[in-house]
């Protein structure tokens, strides 16, 4: 394979991985910008969505029905998570809600192990019969193309939503000044529920793409992506939604090209590189690429 073809292959690979990271990170950032809550259980919504899709599909539903229903279930699961786990703690210290999110992780992951068993299951949806095609001797996998197109569409819609709709503006208003948003009459719970719902839908979708890429699912599958999304959020500037997108893609590219450029012996250290990157960013620019405001206690 020519170096150019190899480069393009890796480029698409990175774009696809970065897209998934961006999708996961948006949800993390949306909730954080409003509640100052880092919801580590966000990754488990990917797991819930993927299991839901697989089970509905196994029950005989057509693939697209399973996908829509599974993603919707993930969204609803996010709303329930907010209502049951986080709303009772509204107003408590950030450390409390952060620790609670770890408790939710333990609960959901062990619940999934009990319910579905600890083993991996093959995930056959979006598993195209011809998974790759080639253009000018560049091998292109279909799941990457689907991932990139789908994500870019969603990013565009999200940008429009945040920029144009009353709810989108209200989300930015709450992130800006909580007291003032109360005073103008913003119904805070509605904004919070919307943020959880949208973020969780995206998590469900990211779960689908992640699982289709891996070809398998397992109860603990949400852990790595949520930690990566955390890193991406730090890279982009925690709480900033454009930052979440940028952070997601930066991380995707950094990961793929580090592996592509380094000798094969180092490939096992892929995740280690990510965390070294995190440490560097925390040292050099802790507010991230687009972050400006210091973290402070809200709500």
């Amino acid at each position: 394979m020519s170096p150019t073809a190899y480069f393009f292959q890796q480029f698409l690979n990175a774009l696809s991985l970065g897209s998934i990271y961006a999708l996961v990170t948006i949800g993390l950032a949306m909730v954080f910008s409003i509640l100052r809550l880092i919801n580590f259980a966000h990754g488990d919504l990917m797991m819930i969505g993927s299991y839901a899709i697989l089970m509905i599909w196994d029950a005989g539903a057509p693939g697209w029905v399973a996908i829509l229903a599974g993603v919707a279930i993930s969204g609803v699961a996010g709303i329930i998570m907010e209502r049951v786990c986080y709303r009772p703690l509204r107003g408590s210290a950030e450390m409390t809600t952060l620790l609670t999110s770890f408790a939710v992780v333990v609960l959901l992951e062990n619940g999934a192990i009990l319910l579905f068993g600890p083993n991996t299951r093959p995930f056959g949806i979006l598993n195209f019969s011809h998974p790759t095609f080639s253009i000018y001797s560049t091998l292109i996998s279909k799941i990457d193309v689907v991932t990139v197109i789908l994500t870019l569409t969603i990013l565009l819609l999200t940008a429009l939503f945040i920029k144009r709709t009353t709810m989108g503006i209200a989300m930015r208003a709450v992130a800006d000044d909580l007291t003032a948003s109360h005073l103008v009459g913003i119904h805070l719970n509605r904004v919070i529920v919307s943020a959880f719902f949208i973020g969780s839908l995206f998590a469900g979708l990211a779960g689908l793409l992640w699982s289709a890429r891996a070809g398998k699912i397992y109860p603990l599958m949400g852990f790595i992506p949520v930690v990566k999304a955390f890193v991406a959020a730090v890279i982009g500037g925690f709480g900033s939604i454009p930052g979440a997108v940028i952070g997601g893609y930066v991380l995707g590219f950094a990961e793929v090209f580090l592996i592509a450029l380094l000798p094969p012996d180092f490939q096992g250290y892929r995740d280690a590189f990510v965390f070294v990157l995190l440490i560097f960013i925390l040292l050099i620019r802790p507010q991230g690429i687009l972050g400006a405001k210091a973290m402070e206690r809200r709500i």
Binding site: I169, R172, D176, D177, T179, A180, S181, H182, L183, V184
Partner: protein, 234 residues
Amino acid sequence: MLQVTGLEVFYGNIQALHGVSFRVAAGETVTIIGSNGAGKSTTLMAIAGLLKPRKGQIKYCGRQVEKLSAYQTVRLGISLCPEGRRIFASLSVHENLTMGAVQRRDRKAVRADIDWVLSLFPDLKSRLEQSGGTLSGGQQQMLAIGRALMSRPKLLILDEPSLGLAPVLVNQIFNVIAALKNENTTVLLVEQNARRALEIADRGYVIETGRITLEGPSAALKNNERVKNAYLGG
């Protein structure tokens, strides 16, 4: 229109209001004057639903509202323009005004009201797409008042609208309050600029360490020796 009776508000264990009572009739402009820490802002925040009083009643248009949240009091027509402006710094001027009307569904009327606010504060007209944080202090105050007006309140509450502004801008702000008064808007005004406040208000209250200590028509308060010495600079 507004009747506050025996209001007691605590911050933790510290009592900020010790039974504050006053009333505002429809169409009236009423001012509360007092020094820093006397409890002016606390009173206003309790009315707006940001703070829950431990004791006392707030009756507004015949309803008990002391247990309501801010979004509910806004729905009933109470709008508080807070001290320190608190505009949304990363939102554009236009978006700030839109958020002032966040509960309204009559889009056409909202658009008309944005034009109305811009006619009250022409300085904002050319800055609609600028983000709030880039405005000068005076423009931010205008935006804050404009945003508070966007909910079309029956009761407009202004907390220190002239604080930290140059005299020219103070005049401009008070001219707008006068204009709103002429349109029969009910205004509750808290000001450290007691002289200007008493000039524009129909009636006034003096609050000291969480208690109302004096009340009366503005003209009477202006000539009161205690008010003169304490708030009007002798």
